[in-house]
Symmetry: C2
Subunit: 300 residues, 2 copies
Amino acid sequence: MNKEIIQDYFKTLQDKICHSLEETDGFGKFQEDLWQHVDGGGGRTRLIENGNILEKGGVNFSAVSGVVGPELKKQLNIENEADFFATGVSIVQHPKSPMVPIIHMNVRYFEMTDGTYWFGGGIDLTPHYVETEQAKWFHKQLEKVCENFNPGWYEKCKKQADDYFYIPHRGETRGIGGIFFDHLNEKSTRKSKEEIFEFVKSVGELFAPIYTYLMKINADKDYSEPEKKWQMLRRGRYVEFNLVWDRGTKFGLITNGRTESILMSLPPVANWAYNHSPTENSEEAKTLSLLKKDIDWINY
Amino acid sequence: MNKEIIQDYFKTLQDKICHSLEETDGFGKFQEDLWQHVDGGGGRTRLIENGNILEKGGVNFSAVSGVVGPELKKQLNIENEADFFATGVSIVQHPKSPMVPIIHMNVRYFEMTDGTYWFGGGIDLTPHYVETEQAKWFHKQLEKVCENFNPGWYEKCKKQADDYFYIPHRGETRGIGGIFFDHLNEKSTRKSKEEIFEFVKSVGELFAPIYTYLMKINADKDYSEPEKKWQMLRRGRYVEFNLVWDRGTKFGLITNGRTESILMSLPPVANWAYNHSPTENSEEAKTLSLLKKDIDWINY
């Protein structure tokens, strides 16, 4: 299976997801920006703004290639000259309503001229207000797909998501986690490249049904000023995670990636308030208490 | 001259600056938070919110001490065990009006048990709209203080500010720069510790007259929705600089500093718009064209 097949699949996935999101939103339309990277390849950035449900979000495809530069060498721990090829789909959606969760999904493939390759990716959910039933349902969807690939796989990827989507300087997780995986190849998984690709595809296919369902069941809920304020503060935390801790964002920014495509993950508006702390027993306090690692959502 | 004298001076400086800002704002009052660091020492965080002119800003004093940890060792390039002491005043002010510039100032002192010490600091200005006359005036104030310390000193510190307050992933400076200096001691400057301290003091003393003047001459200017929108986008850039590139912020966050005091530098509200570009020949485009390194503001 060559890189063209993988790249073509990611393009199709982008199309399908944009279609589903537009359909569920009912108003917003994705605008496409085609771009080329100076070093080779390029991408299709698709942005939705001011929809019925989605306030700002991106569904981005890219396929770039080039010489492995000094930063990437350091990260990959290699010394020889090599060319790389990287392709993937990246999504972040910021809904208008604080009752609808923020979502992030990424699936990616990387290979080098020496034959090394791997797949990576993940999905995680950031509700402004954690609904435990929905959190459980979300994790069950991920569990199914993971266990279908490999028994025990969900637990492993769930733990990796807890560790990855964590904001150390706040002592909070970004949201209720999800799954995160990286460097998947024959060597690390004892599965064939085809089987790994099937798993990555099944993660990609899961995005639209999960998020359109969460959009539908939450978009019509009432909210007012206090919920909106809380949403703006939670978006501030999202910005902090992405700019301070997210390895993908940092790597993209320091290696001269396309800034506007990388930073489509940022919300349209975010707030910061000094030393904000929700009142005791409020819905906000309950949510904060659930932004922790190692919550067993499946058996919650 | 021992560390107590320096620390006491910084406390007095904090008092004086807060007083001047309150007086010029005419409505906002600083709220004080005293805090202690787990490893030793602590600080006085002072925050002003919803003033006449100042929407959100901090004037923070801290004096912390402890064992030089692994992150700090790496940064200082030392291997032996050592204790450190660090004290300073840090300021960021986000004004309500887009016609008033954002300002940042920092003066600091660091010493270790092995006798090593240095001073550091800087002032830089981030106008939402660059007024070239004001930029020139601002740099002239800094030039005076620098040249009084050492001929050629302004040029050196101005260049360091251009390099430091730069956002590589945007190809923009944060604002119109100012001065930045670090690791000042006998060895690096051929001046006595007393003379260096006098220079640092003169930078500290410069803050209030500079910023209260800029508040006064700009606060009553008219503006409307487009200027406000632009301000929100420029604030987004300020967030990007501080969270992605500012060494002080990053260092504080990864070494378990007091998050709320470090992140007082963030604006109350910030916006992100995909691929925003000001219309040709607009005031916004003019400002963007002036967010460049190596502009000779003194002779502008």
